[in-house]
């Protein structure tokens, strides 16, 4: 079956905007003109947050990596850095992500499976051993337990002799999107937002170069959001965190410059590029006009434009290498600060070294061979791209207004209405994929009867968990238990008093208190999240 036979006459992109056969200057004018285009490095930053962009420095390459334990992960980090990777993006196992220790009964079968297991500061010391934290910035993909892991990262760096006040790095730490998709929440919505606020406030004061939050449209898109919703919902979430900071008495310019974003890159190339350009202009406008920021850096929509997991397929996995190359191209044409590509085998397993290297080489080819770093925002001025950028921005504003009209993002997430909305869309998309209405090569068209090439599976060894428990017991035997007890009590006391819990958590991780112990103290005060089930 050829996809052409079933394509409707009117073409709309995934965000619901009509795509015409031809664009002219008149379309740009009719869609709002070029007022929001401007120049790179200048408000409203539609064309990029820096004047010279990649000419000065290519995007950071930061493949998502982590498995088994700190030692094995450290080896893979070194392999990637030797192969030209310029940043790290750490994957943690699910017990770590949900605040459980390796020896917790609920962790059984999950230790080290989808990422590196972390119980105490010792694991961080091993994981980043031999890595220059000034040259290689580290991004922690952690959310529910982010306050603890950020504390560990700062404590580890300090122990290594780095000045925390100058330390760069990022934590994902976007809990609101975890309630929508990805699901590694621990505490109820309100205290979860409070914890995110504690990390932003703490970093603003003690680690001002560190980016404590990377707001993720990415996973909302993976859960079924359209590209424009991905941006609109992420902006609503970022505003919720910003509002919490303002309530604490901080000025927007004290923290907004360290907020960053994580967005997805699969789908129609032009729609994605327009999405990012539109998003940059809109975010700058919001921060300047609604929040009264004066510092241009506060207005920057800094982003990792990455992944593309939702676009990759189980079928004909080699095709994912090619998709990855297109996704990287989208990201480069969109002015991303950082890029990470899902690997071709990632629909099956934790990527092999081989698959990781191909992703890395894909990005390096764009930098070295394709001229992607020579000129800033090369698609600017295209009638099509500028029209679509205007239309995407208007659509995002409409979606944000709808969220406000429904009581705001926090209310919608708490009640499960956003979750129900995106999952209904995901269902519609899945039906379109199965019927062929939405063409997907190798899945619903151009299928092959040949046997699929099986990818190589990342081995999982139960003995790794036993070893990790042994390591944990060793740390517990060696640490000063009185200091652990004292610092853990302080975590609970500060949580009860409504204070910022970060200083107490930093003290606890320095005493080698575990992720599970600290989480338990917070649960005693905050309780657990109860998921609203809504269809």
């Amino acid at each position: 079956m050829s996809p052409k036979e079933i394509k409707p006459k009117e073409i709309k992109n995934e965000s619901g905007i009509e795509v015409k056969a031809l664009y002219t200057e008149a379309d740009v004018e009719a869609s709002g003109g070029v007022d929001m285009v401007g120049l790179p490095g200048e408000y409203p930053f539609t064309r990029g947050i820096h004047r010279e962009m990649y000419r000065k420095r290519p995007w950071t390459m930061r493949q998502y990596t982590g498995f088994a334990n700190a030692k094995d992960t450290n080896e893979r980090f070194h392999y990637l850095i030797e192969n030209g990777q310029t940043g790290l993006n750490v994957a943690f196992d699910l017990p770590t992500q949900t605040g459980l220790d390796t020896d917790d009964p609920l962790a059984e079968g999950e230790v080290g499976r989808v990422g590196m297991a972390v119980d105490t500061l010792r694991d961080f010391e091993i994981a980043f051993d031999g890595i220059d934290l000034e040259k290689i910035t580290v991004s922690l993909t952690i959310n529910g337990s982010a306050a603890i892991l950020i504390a560990m990262y700062l404590a580890m760096a300090e122990k290594r002799g780095y000045d925390v006040a100058k330390l760069r790095g990022t934590a994902q730490n976007d809990i609101l999107k975890e309630f929508i998709g990805r699901g590694t929440w621990i505490f109820p919505v309100e205290p979860s937002i409070k914890l995110v606020g504690d990390t932003i406030e703490y970093c603003a004061k003690h680690a001002p170069k560190y980016s404590p939050v990377s707001v993720c449209g990415y996973h909302i898109r993976e859960s079924g959001a359209t590209p424009e919703q991905e941006m609109a919902y992420a902006f609503c979430i970022a505003k919720a965190y910003a509002d919490d900071m303002l309530k604490r008495g901080l000025h927007i310019d004290e923290f907004a410059g360290r907020l960053s974003y994580n967005f997805n890159i699969f789908g129609n190339l032009f729609e994605q590029v327009a999405k990012f350009r539109a998003g940059r202009g809109l975010w700058a406008k919001i921060i300047k006009e609604d929040y009264g920021a004066k510092d241009p850096k506060s207005m920057w929509m800094r982003m990792i434009a990455a992944g593309g997991g939702g676009g990759l397929t189980i079928e004909q996995p080699e095709n994912n290498i090619v998709r990855g190359a297109y996704y990287a191209l989208i990201s480069a044409l969109s002015g991303a600060q950082t890029m990470a590509l899902c690997c071709f085998d990632e629909a099956y397993t934790i990527p092999s070294e081989y698959a990781q290297r191909i992703s890395l080489r894909t990005m390096q080819m764009l930098i070295e061979e394709m001229g992607m770093c020579e000129t800033v925002d090369p698609l600017a001025g295209s009638y099509y791209v500028e029209t679509m950028t205007n239309k995407m921005r208007q659509k995002m504003e409409e979606t944000m207004a709808e969220v406000e009209a429904e009581g705001g993002i926090v209310k919608m997430v708490s009640e499960g209405t956003i979750q129900a909305k995106v999952s209904a869309q995901a269902y519609g998309m899945q039906k379109d994929l199965q019927s062929g209405a939405f063409p997907k090569v190798g899945v619903n068209c151009y299928k092959t009867d040949e046997e699929e090439n099986e990818v190589e599976f990342h081995p999982y060894d139960n003995r790794d968990a036993d070893q990790q428990i042994e390591n944990l017991n060793k740390v517990k035997a060696e640490r000063d238990q009185a200091e652990v007890d004292r610092t853990l009590d302080q975590v609970k006391a500060d949580a009860e008093a409504g204070h910022n819990v970060m200083p107490a958590i930093v003290a606890a991780v320095k005493a080698y208190a575990t992720v599970g112990e600290i989480t338990s103290k917070l649960v005693e005060v905050y309780g657990y999240y109860q998921e609203p089930i809504k269809f």
Binding site: L94, P95, Q97, T98, L100, L106, A107, E108, G109, E110, R113, V114, E178, G181, R182, G183, T184, W185, E222, S223, G224, T313, I314, E315, A347, Y348, T349, S423, A424, A426, Y427, Q430, K431, Q434, V443, E454, F457, Y460, E531, I533, F535
Partner: protein, 134 residues
């Protein structure tokens, strides 16, 4: 076919939070006229067995995306006996590689629907097996 609606429990075992697949399959089953109870995330084997018994379902479906399907099913199996659920249809979907299918079948899984399976195939399978059961 019986007048009664087919009752399905869709369970999301373990710590993984990727529920896109589970939720779209729940919707497809609802559209097919089944009564579907979705457990939500992070359920233990006992919670899933308990829910299946309490809700008196005909089908126990699991969605697994993060690779822990074998240890989970291994833990669930004795509980199915304990809760007298061994005659229920037991199916799993998600990121379940073909190399594990035999192990799972031997454990008692009736069917496996890996990523990419069509809704129609899942629904037709349940309907035809349900007819045999009642």
């Amino acid at each position: 076919m019986s007048e009664n609606k087919i009752r399905v429990l869709m369970g999301k075992p373990g710590l993984d939070g990727h529920d896109h697949g589970a939720k779209v399959v729940v919707r497809a089953m609802m559209d097919a006229g089944f009564d579907v109870i979705y457990t939500g995330l992070r359920k233990t084997p006992r919670q899933i067995a308990e829910a299946a018994a309490k809700e008196n379902v005909d089908v126990i479906g699991l969605s697994s995306m993060a690779g822990s399907h074998i240890p989970f099913c291994k833990s669930l199996k004795p509980l199915l006996k304990e809760y007298n659920l061994e005659d229920k249809l037991w199916i799993i979907g998600g990121n379940v590689p073909s190399k594990d299918h035999e192990t799972l079948k031997k454990m008692g899984l009736d069917a496996i629907f890996p990523t990419g399976s069509h809704f129609d195939d899942i629904i037709d399978y349940i309907k035809s097996r349900y007819r045999q059961l009642v």
